[in-house]
Amino acid sequence: MCVIDIIGQPRHGPEEDEKDALPVSGRPESDADLYERLGLELIRFATTLVGPSDAEDLLGSAVLKAIGSPRWRAVDNKRAYLYRVLTNEARSTHRSRTRRRESELRTYRRDDFEHEVVDPALMDALRSLTVRQRAVIYLTYWDDLAPADIATTLDTSLRTVERDLNNARTRLEETLS
C-alpha cells in the first residue's frame, strides 16, 4: 500500500522578521554589513554541513557566489537565500570530495585558531547524514523552524523536508545511542 500523506501544511512566505534590515539611517544594508550581522550564524551552519575544517572555505565560496549572482539585488530574504546557497554549495563540495582518493593531500592556509575538537563519535553521527539532512536538522533544532519554513528556506517541498527530518532522526537515533 503506497502511503499518501494527509493534507500538508500550506507553505509559508518569507519570514516576516527577516527583510533587508534597514539601519536607523534608513539606508539599505551593505553586503559587508549583512555579512557582519549574519557571519557567526552562517559559519555555524557551514560547520554543521561540512565540519570545522572546511567551514570557512564553504562560507567564502558560498557568499561570493551569492553576492555575485545577478539576482542578489532583487532577493528579498537574503538570509534565507544565503542558507540555500550554503546548502547547495556544500552538496557540490561533498560530492567532489567523496570522489577524491583518500590519499590526496590538502594543505590549508589557516589562522592560528584553536577550535574545540568535537567528539569524533558525534561528528561521525553528523557525517552519517546527507548534506540536506544536516541542513534540515540544523534548521529544526538550532533555528527552531517549522518544516514549512524550512521548505521555504531551502526552496524545496514540505514533503522532502519531512522525509529528510524523519530519516535524519532515525539515523541519529541509531548512531547516537
Binding site: 500500500m1 503506497c2 499518501i4 494527509i6 493534507i7 559587508a32 555579512y35 557582519e36 557571519g39 552562517l42 559559519i43 555555524r44 560547520t47 554543521t48 570545522p52 570557512e56 572555505d57 562560507l59 567564502g60 565560496s61 557568499v63 561570493l64 557566489k65 553576492i67 555575485g68 549572482s69 545577478p70 539576482r71 542578489w72 537565500y81 540555500r84 546557497v85 547547495n88 554549495e89 552538496r91 557540490s92 590538502r106 594543505t107 590549508y108 592556509r109 589562522d111 585558531f113 577550535h115 574545540e116 568535537v118 558525534l122 553521527a125 540536506r132 536538522i137 540544523y138 533544532y141 538550532w142 526552496d155 524545496t156 517541498s157 514540505l158 522532502t160 541519529l172 537515533e173 547516537l176
Partner: protein, 519 residues
C-alpha cells in the same frame, strides 16, 4: 523533549563550539580563504560585472557565447587560470545560474540517488527527482522531459479530495474545488443551469448531472458532476464517484469555498493535492517487437496527476508487489490498458499496447529501471537524445547563432535548468520556445521605444540552425516562424503586420501557439 532531541541539541552545541570564526569580509572578496593557489583560480564576478551579465549581450544586438567554446563545466567548478577576472569579456558570458537553485551536477543527480538499474516500480521519488527510465528487454524509442511552473490549471491541484480511508484510489471519491470566472478560463458567461438538473445544495441551487455507469468500462458508478455559484465571480465544481446523491450533498453542504476546508466524514480521509512551484513530466516509449509497445508517462504532480485522468472514472485498486495500481482500458486502441500508480511524489501511467495479460503487464511494471544518462543513451534508439550530462553543452551550441536584444533578460538557467532525457527535437523546441516566448513578451511590452528589436530577433529565427535542423521533423519550427511573421519586423521600422480581419496580433493570440502560458 525526548532523549533523542536532547542528544541532537547537544551535538549542535558541540558543533557551535567547534565552529571557527567567520573570516573577515575583505578576505572573502580577495579569495584568500581556503586552499592556497585556489584564490587565483576562482572567478570572481563583483557587483558591477554581475549586473552587466543580467542582460545577455553587451552593446546592442549581441550573440550568446559567439566566441566561447561550448563547455559543460558546471558553474561552480569554473576556473580561470591566472589572475581572477573582475569583468567578463564582451560576448563571452551568459548570465550565471542562480546559486540558490540547486547546482545541478549530472554526475550525481540525486542527493540519495537510486542505484543505476534500480527498479522504478518500488522506488519512491521526490518531486525534484526526474527519472530516466528504460524497460528491460525493450528499445527506447522516445524520450521527453518537460519542466513547467505550477500550479497546473488543468488538473486537481489545490482541490479538496475525499477518498476512502486507507484506499486513495478507491470509491467513494469526492473532489471539490472553486473555479474563477474569467476570460482566461473562457467561462465568464457560462450558464450553470445548462449543465444539469437543479438541486438544493449549500444553501443555493446547484446543477447536477449523473451517469449510472462508467462510459469506458460499463462498471457501475454513479458518476456525478455538480456545479453551483458561490458569487458572481466563482463557482464550485464537484466530481463524485460511487456515492449517493444525498451523501454527496451532505458533504458538499459543509464545504468552505474560501478555504477549501470540509469536515472529513467517518471512513474518509483527505488526499493532499499540493501545488508545486515547478512541475516535471516525463514520457518514454518502448518497443518490445511484435505488436507489444509500452509508453510510460510520469509526473511530479503525483496523485494529482492521476486524478486528472481518473476524476470521473469508476476505479478499483489492484495490488501488485504491494503497490496499489489502477488498470483501465485504453480507448485509443483495442486491447490496450492504462496502468496508474504513485511512487513517492510521482504519479505514473503506463500504456501497454498489444496485451491485456495481467502477468505480462506486471512483468513490465517490474521491468522499468532507473538508469544513469550513459546507460539510457546506450539503449536509446530514437535518434539523438539530450540528457542531464550533455544538456549544457548542447544547449550552448544551439545558442551559438542566436542574436538577442540587449533588453532581453534570459538567464542560462532558464534554458538549461531542465532535467531528464529529451529527444533532440523536444530539447530544441523547449529552448527555442523559451526564447521565442521571451521575445514575444518583450515585443508587446516594449512600446514605441523599440518593439522592432524583438520582432527582428524573432524574424532571424528562420536562420537559427537549431530550427533548420528540425524543420522537416515536425511542426515546431513552422510554428515559431509563423509567429515571427505575425509580428513582422525587419529591424528598421516598427512592424505593421495585421492578421485576419485587419486586426493587429496580440500576445493573447500568439502566445498559446508556442505554449508560452505553460513555460
Amino acid at each position: 523533549m525526548n532523549s533523542l532531541d536532547t542528544k541532537i541539541r547537544k551535538l549542535l552545541d558541540d558543533v557551535d563550539r567547534a565552529s571557527p570564526p567567520p573570516p573577515p569580509f575583505e578576505r572573502l572578496r580577495s579569495g584568500e580563504t581556503g586552499e592556497p593557489g585556489k584564490a587565483n583560480r576562482r572567478r570572481i564576478i563583483a557587483g558591477a560585472a554581475a549586473a552587466a551579465v543580467v542582460a545577455i549581450g553587451v552593446g546592442g544586438l549581441a550573440s550568446l557565447d559567439r566566441n566561447e567554446p561550448a563547455t559543460s563545466v558546471p558553474a561552480d567548478q569554473a576556473t580561470v587560470d591566472g589572475p581572477a577576472a573582475e569583468t567578463p569579456d564582451a560576448g563571452t558570458t551568459v548570465a550565471e545560474n542562480d546559486p540558490a537553485t540547486t547546482a545541478f551536477d549530472p554526475a550525481t543527480q540525486f542527493d540519495d540517488a537510486p542505484a543505476d538499474g534500480e527498479a522504478l516500480f518500488t522506488t519512491p521519488l521526490a518531486a525534484d527527482q526526474v527519472p530516466v527510465v528504460i524497460l528491460e528487454g525493450a528499445t527506447t524509442t522516445y524520450a521527453q522531459s518537460l519542466r513547467y511552473p505550477g500550479p497546473f490549471g488543468g488538473g486537481t491541484a489545490g482541490a479538496t479530495v475525499l477518498v476512502p480511508d486507507g484506499a486513495p484510489f478507491d470509491m467513494p471519491r469526492i473532489v471539490m474545488d472553486v473555479v474563477d470566472r474569467n476570460a482566461a478560463n473562457g467561462n465568464g458567461a457560462l450558464d450553470l443551469s445548462a449543465s444539469g438538473d437543479p438541486i438544493d445544495v449549500a444553501g443555493t441551487t446547484g446543477y447536477l448531472s449523473t451517469e449510472a455507469t462508467d462510459p469506458e468500462t460499463g462498471e457501475e458508478g454513479p458518476i456525478h458532476l455538480l456545479f453551483f455559484d458561490v458569487d458572481p465571480d466563482r463557482y464550485v465544481r464537484v466530481n463524485a464517484v460511487g456515492v449517493a446523491v444525498e451523501e454527496m450533498v451532505s458533504i458538499v453542504d459543509n464545504y468552505d469555498p474560501d478555504t477549501g476546508a470540509v469536515p472529513v466524514p467517518d471512513g474518509f480521509m483527505e488526499l493532499a493535492m499540493p501545488d508545486h512551484d515547478i512541475n516535471h513530466d516525463v514520457e518514454f516509449h518502448y518497443d518490445l517487437g511484435g505488436d507489444v509497445r509500452v509508453d510510460l508517462h510520469g509526473s511530479s504532480r503525483g496523485a494529482e496527476h492521476l486524478l486528472g485522468w481518473l476524476v470521473n472514472s469508476v476505479t478499483s485498486t489492484q495490488v501488485i508487489d504491494g503497490i496499489d495500481v489502477i488498470v483501465r482500458p485504453v480507448q485509443e486502441e483495442a486491447g490496450g490498458v492504462n496502468v496508474f500508480w504513485t511512487q513517492g511524489d510521482w504519479g505514473f501511467r503506463a500504456n501497454v499496447f498489444g496485451t491485456e495479460d495481467p502477468a505480462v503487464i506486471a512483468d513490465f511494471l517490474r521491468g522499468f529501471r532507473l538508469v544513469d544518462d550513459a546507460t539510457f543513451t546506450d539503449t536509446y534508439a530514437g535518434g539523438d537524445v539530450v540528457t542531464d550530462t550533455t544538456r549544457a553543452a548542447e544547449v550552448r551550441a544551439m545558442l551559438a547563432d542566436v542574436e538577442l536584444p540587449q533588453a532581453l533578460e534570459i538567464l542560462e538557467g532558464d534554458l538549461i535548468d531542465r532535467r531528464g532525457a529529451n529527444s533532440r527535437y523536444q530539447e530544441i523546441a523547449e529552448v527555442s520556445g523559451t526564447i521565442a516566448c521571451a521575445l514575444l513578451d518583450l515585443h508587446f511590452d516594449s512600446g514605441p521605444a523599440g518593439p522592432w528589436e524583438a520582432a527582428a530577433a524573432l524574424a532571424a529565427s528562420t536562420e537559427w540552425d537549431m530550427l533548420l535542423e528540425i524543420e522537416d521533423q515536425g511542426g515546431w519550427a513552422s510554428a515559431v516562424w509563423q509567429t515571427a511573421a505575425a509580428i513582422g519586423g525587419d529591424g528598421l521600422t516598427p512592424p505593421t503586420t495585421t492578421i485576419g480581419g485587419g486586426q493587429a496580433p496580440t500576445l493573447e493570440t500568439l502566445a498559446p501557439g508556442l505554449g508560452c502560458d505553460t513555460r
